[in-house]
Amino acid sequence: MARGDAEFVEFARAASARLVHAAFLMTGDHHQAEDAAQTALVRTYASWSRIHDDDAYGYARRTLVNHLVDGWRRPMREYPTDEVPQQRHGDVADEVATRRWLIAILGALSPRERAIVVLRYYFDLSEAQVARELAVSVGTVKSTSSRALEKLRTAAPQTADQEARR
Protein backbone atom coordinates (compact mmCIF):
# COMPACT_ATOMS: atom_id res chain seq x y z
CA MET A 1 0.00 0.00 0.00
CA ALA A 2 1.35 3.41 -0.92
CA ARG A 3 2.19 5.88 1.82
CA GLY A 4 -0.73 8.11 0.91
CA ASP A 5 -3.10 5.17 0.96
CA ALA A 6 -2.01 4.11 4.44
CA GLU A 7 -2.56 7.64 5.72
CA PHE A 8 -5.97 7.76 4.11
CA VAL A 9 -7.05 4.43 5.60
CA GLU A 10 -6.01 5.64 9.03
CA PHE A 11 -7.96 8.85 8.49
CA ALA A 12 -11.03 7.02 7.17
CA ARG A 13 -11.11 4.63 10.10
CA ALA A 14 -11.01 7.54 12.52
CA ALA A 15 -13.60 9.64 10.69
CA SER A 16 -16.11 7.02 9.53
CA ALA A 17 -18.28 6.87 12.64
CA ARG A 18 -18.85 10.63 12.81
CA LEU A 19 -19.48 10.97 9.11
CA VAL A 20 -22.00 8.12 9.11
CA HIS A 21 -23.76 9.52 12.15
CA ALA A 22 -23.90 13.02 10.72
CA ALA A 23 -25.42 11.58 7.55
CA PHE A 24 -27.88 9.61 9.63
CA LEU A 25 -28.95 12.76 11.45
CA MET A 26 -29.54 14.40 8.09
CA THR A 27 -31.35 11.51 6.42
CA GLY A 28 -32.86 9.36 9.15
CA ASP A 29 -31.83 6.28 7.21
CA HIS A 30 -28.87 4.12 8.12
CA HIS A 31 -28.32 2.72 4.64
CA GLN A 32 -28.52 6.12 3.02
CA ALA A 33 -26.20 7.47 5.68
CA GLU A 34 -23.59 4.81 5.01
CA ASP A 35 -23.85 5.39 1.27
CA ALA A 36 -23.42 9.12 1.73
CA ALA A 37 -20.44 8.72 4.07
CA GLN A 38 -18.86 6.27 1.66
CA THR A 39 -19.38 8.71 -1.22
CA ALA A 40 -17.76 11.46 0.83
CA LEU A 41 -14.77 9.26 1.58
CA VAL A 42 -14.43 8.20 -2.07
CA ARG A 43 -14.29 11.84 -3.12
CA THR A 44 -11.91 12.65 -0.30
CA TYR A 45 -9.61 9.83 -1.35
CA ALA A 46 -9.73 10.94 -4.98
CA SER A 47 -8.39 14.33 -3.84
CA TRP A 48 -6.24 12.97 -1.05
CA SER A 49 -2.87 14.11 -2.36
CA ARG A 50 -3.82 17.76 -2.21
CA ILE A 51 -5.84 17.76 1.01
CA HIS A 52 -4.33 15.30 3.43
CA ASP A 53 -1.87 17.80 4.84
CA ASP A 54 -4.58 20.39 5.19
CA ASP A 55 -7.98 19.70 6.68
CA ALA A 56 -9.02 16.30 5.44
CA TYR A 57 -11.80 15.95 7.96
CA GLY A 58 -13.22 19.31 6.98
CA TYR A 59 -13.07 18.34 3.33
CA ALA A 60 -14.89 15.07 3.98
CA ARG A 61 -17.48 16.82 6.12
CA ARG A 62 -18.15 19.50 3.48
CA THR A 63 -18.41 16.87 0.78
CA LEU A 64 -20.84 14.85 2.84
CA VAL A 65 -23.11 17.74 3.77
CA ASN A 66 -23.22 19.25 0.30
CA HIS A 67 -23.82 15.84 -1.24
CA LEU A 68 -26.83 15.35 1.00
CA VAL A 69 -28.22 18.86 0.75
CA ASP A 70 -27.87 18.95 -3.02
CA GLY A 71 -29.14 15.49 -3.72
CA TRP A 72 -31.82 15.03 -1.18
CA ARG A 73 -35.40 15.73 -2.13
CA ARG A 74 -37.26 13.12 -0.13
CA PRO A 75 -38.84 13.69 3.27
CA MET A 76 -37.29 12.03 6.26
CA ARG A 77 -38.86 8.97 7.77
CA GLU A 78 -40.42 9.92 11.06
CA TYR A 79 -40.56 7.86 14.19
CA PRO A 80 -42.82 9.72 16.64
CA THR A 81 -41.63 8.98 20.10
CA ASP A 82 -41.10 10.39 23.53
CA GLU A 83 -39.30 13.47 24.71
CA VAL A 84 -35.60 12.85 24.76
CA PRO A 85 -34.83 10.68 27.78
CA GLN A 86 -32.06 11.39 30.19
CA GLN A 87 -29.03 9.44 29.11
CA ARG A 88 -27.77 6.54 31.13
CA HIS A 89 -24.59 5.26 29.61
CA GLY A 90 -24.94 1.84 28.11
CA ASP A 91 -28.72 1.77 28.17
CA VAL A 92 -29.60 0.51 24.72
CA ALA A 93 -33.32 1.18 25.10
CA ASP A 94 -32.64 4.81 25.96
CA GLU A 95 -30.28 5.17 23.04
CA VAL A 96 -32.85 3.78 20.63
CA ALA A 97 -35.50 6.09 22.03
CA THR A 98 -33.20 9.07 21.80
CA ARG A 99 -32.34 8.23 18.22
CA ARG A 100 -36.02 8.00 17.30
CA TRP A 101 -36.76 11.23 19.04
CA LEU A 102 -33.95 12.94 17.20
CA ILE A 103 -35.09 11.70 13.82
CA ALA A 104 -38.64 12.72 14.57
CA ILE A 105 -37.81 16.29 15.45
CA LEU A 106 -35.17 16.68 12.74
CA GLY A 107 -37.77 15.44 10.28
CA ALA A 108 -39.64 18.68 10.84
CA LEU A 109 -36.78 20.62 9.23
CA SER A 110 -35.89 21.25 5.63
CA PRO A 111 -32.67 19.66 4.33
CA ARG A 112 -30.81 22.94 4.60
CA GLU A 113 -32.09 23.62 8.10
CA ARG A 114 -31.07 20.13 9.10
CA ALA A 115 -27.61 20.65 7.62
CA ILE A 116 -27.19 23.82 9.63
CA VAL A 117 -28.34 22.15 12.84
CA VAL A 118 -26.00 19.22 12.31
CA LEU A 119 -23.04 21.44 11.49
CA ARG A 120 -23.74 23.75 14.43
CA TYR A 121 -24.64 21.26 17.14
CA TYR A 122 -23.05 18.00 16.09
CA PHE A 123 -19.85 19.25 14.52
CA ASP A 124 -19.78 22.30 16.80
CA LEU A 125 -18.92 24.73 14.04
CA SER A 126 -19.32 28.45 14.49
CA GLU A 127 -21.96 30.32 12.51
CA ALA A 128 -19.20 31.74 10.31
CA GLN A 129 -17.81 28.26 9.59
CA VAL A 130 -21.27 26.91 8.79
CA ALA A 131 -21.80 29.82 6.42
CA ARG A 132 -18.54 29.07 4.62
CA GLU A 133 -19.24 25.35 4.33
CA LEU A 134 -22.72 25.87 2.90
CA ALA A 135 -21.70 28.90 0.83
CA VAL A 136 -24.35 31.12 2.40
CA SER A 137 -24.17 34.31 4.42
CA VAL A 138 -23.76 34.35 8.19
CA GLY A 139 -27.11 36.11 8.36
CA THR A 140 -28.73 33.21 6.56
CA VAL A 141 -27.16 30.77 9.00
CA LYS A 142 -28.39 32.79 11.97
CA SER A 143 -31.94 33.18 10.71
CA THR A 144 -32.20 29.59 9.50
CA SER A 145 -30.71 28.27 12.70
CA SER A 146 -33.13 30.31 14.77
CA ARG A 147 -36.06 29.12 12.68
CA ALA A 148 -34.88 25.54 12.92
CA LEU A 149 -34.55 25.68 16.69
CA GLU A 150 -38.02 27.15 16.97
CA LYS A 151 -39.37 24.27 14.88
CA LEU A 152 -37.56 21.82 17.09
CA ARG A 153 -39.02 23.39 20.22
CA THR A 154 -42.45 23.07 18.65
CA ALA A 155 -41.87 19.56 17.40
CA ALA A 156 -40.55 18.13 20.64
CA PRO A 157 -43.77 18.47 22.66
CA GLN A 158 -45.80 17.15 19.72
CA THR A 159 -43.78 14.00 19.52
CA ALA A 160 -44.30 13.52 23.25
CA ASP A 161 -48.04 14.01 22.83
CA GLN A 162 -48.17 11.51 19.97
CA GLU A 163 -46.42 8.95 22.08
CA ALA A 164 -48.74 9.63 25.00
CA ARG A 165 -51.77 8.95 22.79
CA ARG A 166 -50.49 5.50 21.87
Binding site: H21, L41, V42, A46, R50
Partner: protein
Protein backbone atom coordinates in the same frame (compact mmCIF):
# COMPACT_ATOMS: atom_id res chain seq x y z
CA UNK B 1 -35.79 21.81 24.47
CA UNK B 2 -32.40 23.38 24.95
CA UNK B 3 -29.56 23.54 22.48
CA UNK B 4 -27.44 21.60 24.95
CA UNK B 5 -29.97 18.82 25.07
CA UNK B 6 -30.04 18.63 21.29
CA UNK B 7 -26.25 18.60 21.18
CA UNK B 8 -26.07 15.89 23.81
CA UNK B 9 -28.68 13.74 22.07
CA UNK B 10 -26.82 13.97 18.78
CA UNK B 11 -23.60 12.79 20.34
CA UNK B 12 -25.08 10.18 22.61
CA UNK B 13 -26.57 8.30 19.68
CA UNK B 14 -23.32 8.06 17.74
CA UNK B 15 -22.32 4.52 16.91
CA UNK B 16 -18.57 4.20 17.36
CA UNK B 17 -18.53 0.86 15.59
CA UNK B 18 -19.68 2.20 12.23
CA UNK B 19 -17.61 0.40 9.64
CA UNK B 20 -17.44 1.27 5.98
CA UNK B 21 -15.98 -0.87 3.25
CA UNK B 22 -12.66 0.89 2.87
CA UNK B 23 -11.50 -1.44 0.10
CA UNK B 24 -14.45 -0.23 -1.97
CA UNK B 25 -13.70 3.37 -1.00
CA UNK B 26 -10.13 3.01 -2.25
CA UNK B 27 -11.18 1.29 -5.45
CA UNK B 28 -13.92 3.81 -6.27
CA UNK B 29 -11.66 6.69 -5.28
CA UNK B 30 -8.99 5.52 -7.71
CA UNK B 31 -11.57 5.25 -10.46
CA UNK B 32 -12.82 8.75 -9.76
CA UNK B 33 -9.28 10.08 -9.74
CA UNK B 34 -8.59 8.37 -13.05
CA UNK B 35 -11.74 9.81 -14.59
CA UNK B 36 -10.73 13.29 -13.43
CA UNK B 37 -7.25 12.86 -14.80
CA UNK B 38 -8.46 11.53 -18.12
CA UNK B 39 -10.92 14.43 -18.34
CA UNK B 40 -8.12 16.90 -17.68
CA UNK B 41 -5.23 15.40 -19.54
CA UNK B 42 -7.44 14.34 -22.40
CA UNK B 43 -8.35 17.86 -23.45
CA UNK B 44 -6.16 17.73 -26.52
CA UNK B 45 -7.55 14.35 -27.41
CA UNK B 46 -11.11 15.52 -27.02
CA UNK B 47 -10.40 18.60 -29.11
CA UNK B 48 -9.39 16.30 -31.90
CA UNK B 49 -12.55 14.29 -31.44
CA UNK B 50 -10.72 11.24 -30.24
CA UNK B 51 -11.34 8.65 -27.64
CA UNK B 52 -8.43 7.00 -25.96
CA UNK B 53 -8.74 4.20 -23.49
CA UNK B 54 -6.14 2.00 -21.95
CA UNK B 55 -5.90 -1.70 -22.25
CA UNK B 56 -3.60 -3.09 -19.64
CA UNK B 57 -2.32 -6.59 -19.71
CA UNK B 58 -0.24 -8.37 -17.19
CA UNK B 59 1.76 -11.51 -17.10
CA UNK B 60 2.13 -13.44 -13.92
CA UNK B 61 5.39 -14.94 -15.06
CA UNK B 62 8.46 -15.34 -12.93
CA UNK B 63 11.72 -14.11 -14.39
CA UNK B 64 13.43 -17.39 -13.63
CA UNK B 65 10.77 -19.41 -15.35
CA UNK B 66 12.26 -20.78 -18.58
CA UNK B 67 8.91 -20.71 -20.29
CA UNK B 68 8.29 -16.99 -19.80
CA UNK B 69 9.74 -15.99 -23.12
CA UNK B 70 6.96 -17.90 -24.77
CA UNK B 71 4.25 -16.78 -22.44
CA UNK B 72 1.58 -14.42 -23.73
CA UNK B 73 0.46 -11.37 -21.81
CA UNK B 74 -2.98 -12.32 -20.47
CA UNK B 75 -5.58 -9.65 -19.86
CA UNK B 76 -5.68 -8.29 -16.34
CA UNK B 77 -7.71 -5.13 -16.87
CA UNK B 78 -9.60 -3.87 -19.87
CA UNK B 79 -12.29 -1.43 -18.90
CA UNK B 80 -13.18 1.38 -21.26
CA UNK B 81 -14.82 4.18 -19.28
CA UNK B 82 -17.47 4.65 -21.93
CA UNK B 83 -19.16 1.46 -20.85
CA UNK B 84 -18.43 -0.20 -24.16
CA UNK B 85 -17.13 -3.70 -24.25
CA UNK B 86 -13.39 -3.93 -23.71
CA UNK B 87 -11.46 -3.96 -26.93
CA UNK B 88 -8.46 -6.21 -27.08
CA UNK B 89 -5.68 -5.88 -29.60
CA UNK B 90 -6.17 -8.51 -32.25
CA UNK B 91 -2.54 -9.12 -32.71
CA UNK B 92 -2.12 -10.48 -29.22
CA UNK B 93 -5.31 -12.36 -28.47
CA UNK B 94 -4.50 -12.22 -24.77
CA UNK B 95 -7.26 -14.32 -23.34
CA UNK B 96 -5.51 -16.51 -20.81
CA UNK B 97 -5.89 -15.60 -17.15
CA UNK B 98 -2.81 -14.27 -15.37
CA UNK B 99 -0.28 -16.89 -14.51
CA UNK B 100 -1.29 -19.41 -17.10
CA UNK B 101 0.77 -20.49 -20.04
CA UNK B 102 -0.17 -20.06 -23.64
CA UNK B 103 1.15 -20.73 -27.06
CA UNK B 104 1.65 -17.20 -28.30
CA UNK B 105 5.05 -15.57 -28.02
CA UNK B 106 5.80 -12.25 -26.40
CA UNK B 107 5.08 -9.61 -29.05
CA UNK B 108 8.06 -8.64 -31.15
CA UNK B 109 9.48 -5.21 -30.26
CA UNK B 110 9.28 -2.51 -32.91
CA UNK B 111 12.53 -0.61 -32.83
CA UNK B 112 15.02 -0.69 -30.02
CA UNK B 113 14.28 -2.04 -26.58
CA UNK B 114 14.90 0.63 -23.94
CA UNK B 115 16.79 -0.35 -20.83
CA UNK B 116 15.40 1.66 -17.89
CA UNK B 117 18.41 0.97 -15.69
CA UNK B 118 16.14 -0.71 -13.13
CA UNK B 119 17.15 -4.24 -12.24
CA UNK B 120 15.16 -7.19 -10.93
CA UNK B 121 17.88 -9.63 -9.95
CA UNK B 122 19.68 -10.27 -13.21
CA UNK B 123 16.74 -9.10 -15.29
CA UNK B 124 16.60 -5.66 -16.82
CA UNK B 125 13.43 -3.62 -16.62
CA UNK B 126 12.80 -2.62 -20.21
CA UNK B 127 10.22 -0.80 -22.25
CA UNK B 128 9.46 -1.45 -25.89
CA UNK B 129 6.91 -0.60 -28.52
CA UNK B 130 4.86 -3.42 -29.98
CA UNK B 131 2.34 -3.64 -32.77
CA UNK B 132 -1.31 -3.89 -31.84
CA UNK B 133 -4.53 -3.97 -33.78
CA UNK B 134 -7.78 -2.60 -32.43
CA UNK B 135 -10.94 -3.48 -34.34
CA UNK B 136 -12.50 -0.42 -35.93
CA UNK B 137 -9.55 1.82 -35.08
CA UNK B 138 -6.97 1.47 -37.83
CA UNK B 139 -4.97 4.45 -36.58
CA UNK B 140 -4.01 2.62 -33.44
CA UNK B 141 -1.18 0.37 -34.45
CA UNK B 142 1.28 0.47 -31.58
CA UNK B 143 1.29 0.05 -27.84
CA UNK B 144 3.96 0.35 -25.19
CA UNK B 145 5.04 -2.67 -23.21
CA UNK B 146 6.85 -2.87 -19.91
CA UNK B 147 8.80 -6.05 -19.61
CA UNK B 148 11.96 -7.73 -18.43
CA UNK B 149 14.95 -8.86 -20.42
CA UNK B 150 16.82 -11.87 -19.11
CA UNK B 151 20.54 -12.50 -19.44
CA UNK B 152 19.90 -14.66 -22.49
CA UNK B 153 18.10 -11.75 -24.16
CA UNK B 154 14.64 -13.24 -23.88
CA UNK B 155 11.83 -10.78 -23.22
CA UNK B 156 8.88 -11.08 -20.89
CA UNK B 157 5.96 -8.68 -21.05
CA UNK B 158 4.46 -7.52 -17.77
CA UNK B 159 2.12 -4.72 -18.75
CA UNK B 160 1.02 -3.43 -22.13
CA UNK B 161 -0.74 -0.12 -22.58
CA UNK B 162 -2.26 1.18 -25.76
CA UNK B 163 -5.01 3.45 -26.98
CA UNK B 164 -8.18 1.70 -28.05
CA UNK B 165 -9.48 4.59 -30.08
CA UNK B 166 -8.30 7.68 -31.87
CA UNK B 167 -4.75 7.98 -33.11
CA UNK B 168 -1.85 6.47 -31.24
CA UNK B 169 0.57 9.10 -32.55
CA UNK B 170 -1.55 12.19 -31.71
CA UNK B 171 0.37 14.93 -29.86
CA UNK B 172 0.36 14.85 -26.10
CA UNK B 173 0.18 12.25 -23.38
CA UNK B 174 -1.34 8.90 -24.05
CA UNK B 175 -1.94 6.20 -21.51
CA UNK B 176 0.00 5.82 -18.29
CA UNK B 177 0.74 2.34 -17.03
CA UNK B 178 0.40 1.67 -13.32
CA UNK B 179 1.32 -1.65 -11.84
CA UNK B 180 -1.60 -2.69 -9.66
CA UNK B 181 -0.39 -6.24 -9.18
CA UNK B 182 1.23 -7.40 -5.98
CA UNK B 183 4.39 -8.41 -7.70
CA UNK B 184 7.89 -8.95 -6.42
CA UNK B 185 9.07 -7.13 -9.52
CA UNK B 186 6.78 -4.13 -9.73
CA UNK B 187 6.73 -2.16 -12.95
CA UNK B 188 7.75 1.48 -12.54
CA UNK B 189 5.00 3.81 -13.71
CA UNK B 190 5.43 4.52 -17.41
CA UNK B 191 3.84 5.90 -20.55
CA UNK B 192 4.54 7.82 -23.70
CA UNK B 193 4.19 11.37 -24.93
CA UNK B 194 4.15 12.49 -28.54
CA UNK B 195 5.95 15.77 -29.10
CA UNK B 196 9.23 17.60 -28.46
CA UNK B 197 9.32 16.95 -24.71
CA UNK B 198 12.63 17.44 -22.96
CA UNK B 199 11.22 17.08 -19.47
CA UNK B 200 8.23 15.22 -18.13
CA UNK B 201 7.24 15.99 -14.59
CA UNK B 202 4.72 14.13 -12.49
CA UNK B 203 3.10 15.44 -9.34
CA UNK B 204 2.19 13.25 -6.41
CA UNK B 205 1.31 14.28 -2.88
CA UNK B 206 2.35 17.82 -3.71
CA UNK B 207 5.86 16.93 -4.80
CA UNK B 208 7.25 16.86 -8.30
CA UNK B 209 8.98 13.86 -9.75
CA UNK B 210 11.01 13.98 -12.94
CA UNK B 211 10.50 11.09 -15.32
CA UNK B 212 13.33 9.37 -17.16
CA UNK B 213 13.00 9.82 -20.91
CA UNK B 214 13.99 7.93 -24.03
CA UNK B 215 12.95 8.45 -27.63
CA UNK B 216 11.55 5.63 -29.68
CA UNK B 217 14.09 4.68 -32.32
CA UNK B 218 11.43 4.39 -35.03
CA UNK B 219 9.74 7.76 -34.43
CA UNK B 220 11.66 10.35 -32.44
CA UNK B 221 8.46 12.25 -31.70
CA UNK B 222 7.45 9.45 -29.39
CA UNK B 223 8.97 10.06 -25.97
CA UNK B 224 8.83 7.03 -23.68
CA UNK B 225 9.01 7.89 -20.02
CA UNK B 226 9.10 6.08 -16.71
CA UNK B 227 9.52 7.06 -13.09
CA UNK B 228 12.31 5.77 -10.93
CA UNK B 229 10.63 3.41 -8.45
CA UNK B 230 12.63 4.95 -5.62
CA UNK B 231 11.01 8.31 -6.39
CA UNK B 232 7.52 7.17 -7.29
CA UNK B 233 6.24 3.96 -5.76
CA UNK B 234 4.97 1.67 -8.52
CA UNK B 235 1.20 1.72 -8.55
CA UNK B 236 0.96 5.07 -6.78
CA UNK B 237 -1.27 7.34 -8.81
CA UNK B 238 0.02 10.60 -10.13
CA UNK B 239 -2.06 13.66 -9.42
CA UNK B 240 -0.83 15.40 -12.52
CA UNK B 241 1.74 15.23 -15.27
CA UNK B 242 3.15 17.83 -17.63
CA UNK B 243 5.71 17.96 -20.41
CA UNK B 244 8.11 20.83 -21.14
CA UNK B 245 10.18 21.57 -24.19
CA UNK B 246 13.86 22.51 -24.21
CA UNK B 247 13.03 26.13 -23.33
CA UNK B 248 10.98 25.08 -20.35
CA UNK B 249 7.70 25.84 -22.08
CA UNK B 250 4.81 23.63 -21.20
CA UNK B 251 3.65 21.52 -24.10
Amino acid sequence: MSEDRLRHAMRATERPDAVLDLATVLREGRRLRTRRRVAGAGAATLAAGLTAVVVVMAVGARPDDPSTAERPPPVAVATPPTGAAPMVPNSLEPTSPPGTTGDEPTPKPLGQVIDSGVRHGTDQRVYFVVGVSVPGHPRVSVGLAAGRRALDGSLTTDILINDVGGVDRSPGFHQIGYDERSSADPVPTFGYFVGPAQRIIGTVDGRQVDARLARWSVDKQVVIFWFDPTELTPGERLDGIIARDGDGRRL
